[in-house]
Amino acid sequence: MSVDLRTAPSASTLTAPSPSAPGAMCTASGPAAFSIASDGSPAVPRLGVTWVRGTALPALVTAREQVQEALDRAADSFQGISGTAYAFHASIMLRHLGVLADGLTRAAALFESYADRLVAHERLLSGVRAQAVASGFPVTGDMVGTPDGPAGSTEWTAMAAGVAAERQALRQWVATHLDAALADFLDEETFEWVGQFFATHHSTLVSGALGTALQKAHLHKVANIDRGGVRLTARELDRLADDASRLARAAEAVGPIAVAYDTVTALESDEPGRGMAQVSGGVIAAGLVLTLPISSPVAAGLLATGATIVAVEGVKHAWGELPDDWADTLDESIGEGWDDLKDATGDVAGKVWSWVS
C-alpha cells in the first residue's frame, strides 16, 4: 500500500492536528511544528520474517521429519495393538505439526505485509519532507516548523494534518491486520489434544490388553467402595493400594496409547458414534478427576478409574436412550468422517488398521 500526500484525494479536506496529536509541538497560538519521524521501521517485521522462514520453519520441518521417521521405523519395530495405537497417535502429531507450519507461514506473510505498510509510511513521510523543503518551510531534523509569514500556512496545515492522519491510519492498519489476526493463530485443537494426551498419560484411564484386565479387577472394588457397604480391613486396604499402584504404573505406559487404540477401534466399529462418545466420556471424566485437590496419587488414581468407568457406562446408557434416527445419523456422520480422514491420510491410516486386522 502506498499513499502520497500530494496526490491523495482526501488531502485537501484534512484539518490541522489537534494539540494532542502525536508529533505536534504547540504554542499558545497553535502547533509550532510537526514531526515527520517514522513510527516504525520495515526492518523490524523483516527481521521477524527472516527468523520465521530461516530458523523456525526449517526447525519445524526437521521435527516433522523426525516424527515421520519414528512412525516409519515403528512399522518394523513396534507391532501389535500398542504399536497400532502409537502409529495413530504419531499421525495425529504430524497433522498438528503441519498446522503449526501453516501458522508460521501465514505469520511470515502477515509480517511481510506489515513491512510493506511501513515502507509506504516512510515513503509518505519522505514525500512530506521533500515538499516542506521545496516550499521553504524550516525543517530541523525530523521537525517541520511553521512558515515565518502567512504565506504557505494553508499548505503547512494540510501537510501536518496529512501526517497526523497517516499515523492514525497506520495504527488502524495494525489493529485491523495484526491485532485482529491474533485469534487466527490460536490453535485450540492442538492445545486440547495435547491437554488430553497429558491428562490421559498421567491418569489411570486404562483399557487395551493389559489395562482391561487390571480395570476389571478394580471395577468390583471401586464399586463396593462407592456403595459404602463394605468395611475394608487394613490388610485389604494395603492390597488395594498395591493393586492401585500397579494399575497406575501400567496406565502410565498404556494410557495414551490405549485411548488411541480405543479411538481406532470405535471408529472402525459398526457404531462409531457410540464408541467415540464412550472414549470421549472416559477421557473427560478422568481429566476432571485429575483436577481435584487430592494429595494421594493412589486415591486420585482410584477416583479417576471409577469416574472413567461411570462415565463410559453413563454414555452407554445415554446413547441407548437416544432416538434411533439420532444415533444412526451420528454413527453415519462420524463413520463417514473417519473414512474421509483415511482417504486424506492415505497410507498412514490404512497401514494403521492393517496392523490390527
Binding site: G40, V44, G48, S77, Q79, Y114, L178, L182
Partner: protein, 91 residues
C-alpha cells in the same frame, strides 16, 4: 488380533526421534529481539501463540517418547517374568 512384536531398537529408533523432535521444537523459543514500532507488540503476541503451540508439541513429543519406552519396558518385563515362571516350573 495382530502379532505382538517389540524390536530391540525401539527406544533408539522411535523414542529417540521423538526426543530429537522435541528438542528441535523447543529451540524455537529463542526469538530475535524486535525493535519498537506500532505493530511490534502484535507481532510478539502472534509469535508467542505460535511458540506456545510449538512448546506444547515439544512436550507431547517428549511424553510420546517416554510412553514408547514405558510400553517397551512393560512388555519386556512381562516377557521376562513369564520366562522365569516357566523356568521355575521346569525340572
Amino acid at each position: 488380533m495382530s502379532e505382538l512384536r517389540v524390536g530391540a531398537d525401539l527406544e533408539h529408533q522411535v523414542a529417540a526421534r521423538h526426543h530429537q523432535a522435541a528438542e528441535g521444537l523447543d529451540e524455537l523459543l529463542s526469538i530475535p529481539a524486535l525493535g519498537p514500532g506500532p505493530g511490534t507488540g502484535s507481532m510478539l503476541q502472534i509469535l508467542a501463540v505460535l511458540l506456545e503451540t510449538s512448546h506444547q508439541l515439544a512436550q507431547a513429543n517428549d511424553l510420546t517418547a517416554d510412553a514408547v519406552r514405558d510400553v517397551a519396558h512393560v512388555i519386556r518385563s512381562t516377557d521376562a517374568q513369564v520366562e522365569q515362571g516357566f523356568r521355575a516350573a521346569g525340572p
